[in-house]
Symmetry: C2
Subunit: 320 residues, 2 copies
């Protein structure tokens, strides 16, 4: 049994707290992708809910635990939407700090859901610092994605569902950013389905957690350069890395071109609008055909918040 | 209680036969659509499954009932995919007859799922005649969408889910073609949630069933002219009309421009790729703002099989 910060009984109990609208998301085999990918691909779809990403699973736990009052988080865009949604439902006062460079669609939705939005120059890690300052100044709860165990437990409920919905899966591909989803799903699968290979996927343009995983120590990077805004961090959290080292079988990096190809394939062959972070698994399949050939793979399509104009550009017909 | 050909206990029992991959599809409130639509909109999403439409619910019942052998159906494209999927799973020999004018994406998927595909000149009703000829010639089961009660019972399981997932719904919008979905969902809601208004939506360019509903007798049309290929029939089935008259509160027609606007809004604000038939409910909301203002509406997004090039065109930015 993995000795992480997580506990499978607590994760099972979390299902009773999370709004059902986020639970039991579709998992289905998507034949139409298979000729191009060369393996049996199933999609675990986390975009068909009110915030179009898996993050609501975690924010439901946080908001339910708080009961009342104020809360602040830094967000690349999805956590902020989810916390705004869960907070609005319970009358919480929610502040989200995000980078001015985050997709306008994500920022607009955070505002529309009634949260106070504060924008910072710089990237996600700059937003983390600012959120931390606000929490200290106002004496309110700071939600730290991946560090706060609720964010991992929420994501981990996806693992319970995969174990039930796809009992014959051989590989599960999980987008790797801060690590909440990878450690959460990884914990559950390591315990309940130990034969399943848990493979994390990160953009080569934002490789900090993967480098840290490979070197077994925190490695930070100076900058990030990827369209996968949802996973673009520079500063891995030590506690999360410790957990990841126990539950992930591998972490791979993928190129930007592959991520765009993944977004396009999921649109053309699966009829799905996904954000780049949601296409990381497909990108990994495209770059590692031999490794995954003929295997039964589940890829978690973790988010679908895109600027429509950017998506149109990614899925535009390729020049011939 | 409605005296239709359907029975709610049989519909409940159908849930045990249908592959779970088609059941319990997401239903969620989609705030992002509301500023433009002016009411509380929830989406019942029938596109996140292996055939990207609700039709698998019915074909599962048909294929399970057949056990073995051969089967033929006419299809606008979605029933054929679903029957091919359910038949492949059980080793059935499936023939699908479709119009040469059906979307290439639908025809390609029918072939890819292992069915024999026969194309006819003419429209869906020409395909119905040809499928009937094949069934007679070969002495095999003819599946007739909306007439065969399994297709209605399968669709009706959506009604059970809406009653459970959206107990406070005031209006349910259902695409109207042959009538399986409208009579199925309508039957269940009339019995289990009699206060809910069941509103069918059909393109003005393919109005036969709506005209029949209004005149309370079968009205056929000479031709159809709509991008909503999934619901473009000319010849309503008397038995289905009889059922519809008992369970639908209204049937409305929508213009092509509204259908395109619906496809675009569902892409831009909800991140969903839908076929025109799946956007009929949104089109009805756009055309009837006062009628639905501030009400709690569920719209069934019933299919997502589109040619990517056509979809790109529908969602392209509007000229200003």
């Amino acid at each position: 049994m993995p000795q992480t910060r997580l506990d499978t009984d607590r994760i099972r109990a979390a299902r009773r707290v999370i709004d059902p609208v986020f639970l039991d998301s579709p998992l289905y085999r998507c034949d139409a992708l298979e000729p191009e990918l060369g393996c049996a691909v199933s999609i675990k779809l986390e975009t068909a809910n009110p915030v179009r990403s898996f993050k609501g699973r975690g924010t439901e736990l946080i908001a339910a635990g708080l009961g009342a009052g104020s809360v602040v988080c830094a967000s690349a865009g999805n956590l902020g939407q989810a916390l705004a949604w869960s907070g609005r439902k319970r009358g919480l006062d929610v502040t989200v700090v995000a980078s001015r460079a985050a997709p306008a669609a994500k920022l607009d939705r955070i505002r529309a859901l009634g949260a106070r939005l504060e924008l910072v120059d710089g990237d996600f890690d700059a937003a983390r610092e600012r959120a931390s300052d606000i929490a200290r100044r106002d004496g309110i709860r700071l939600v730290e994605d991946s560090l706060d165990v609720e964010t991992c437990e929420g994501a981990a409920t996806i693992g319970l569902e995969i174990a039930r919905q796809a009992p014959s899966a051989e590989v599960v591909l999980i987008a790797l950013g801060g690590g909440a989803m990878a450690t959460g799903i990884g914990h559950v699968l390591t315990e309940l389905a130990p034969g399943v290979e848990v493979v994390c996927v990160q953009p080569a343009g934002a490789p900090a957690m993967t480098l840290s995983y490979r070197e077994r120590r925190v490695v930070t990077t100076e900058s990030t350069n990827t369209i996968a805004d949802g996973v673009a961090g520079r500063c891995p959290i030590p506690e999360v890395l410790d957990d990841l080292l126990q539950v992930a079988d591998d972490a791979v990096l993928v190129e930007e071109d592959s991520i765009v190809a993944g977004v396009r394939m999921l649109f053309e062959h699966a009829g799905l609008v996904v954000e780049p972070s949601g296409a990381l698994g497909v990108a990994a399949l495209l770059e590692n055909r031999e490794r995954f050939a003929d295997r039964r793979v589940v890829t978690v399509v973790c988010g679908g918040n895109v600027d429509p104009a950017a998506h149109r550009c990614w899925v535009a017909p390729r020049p011939t």
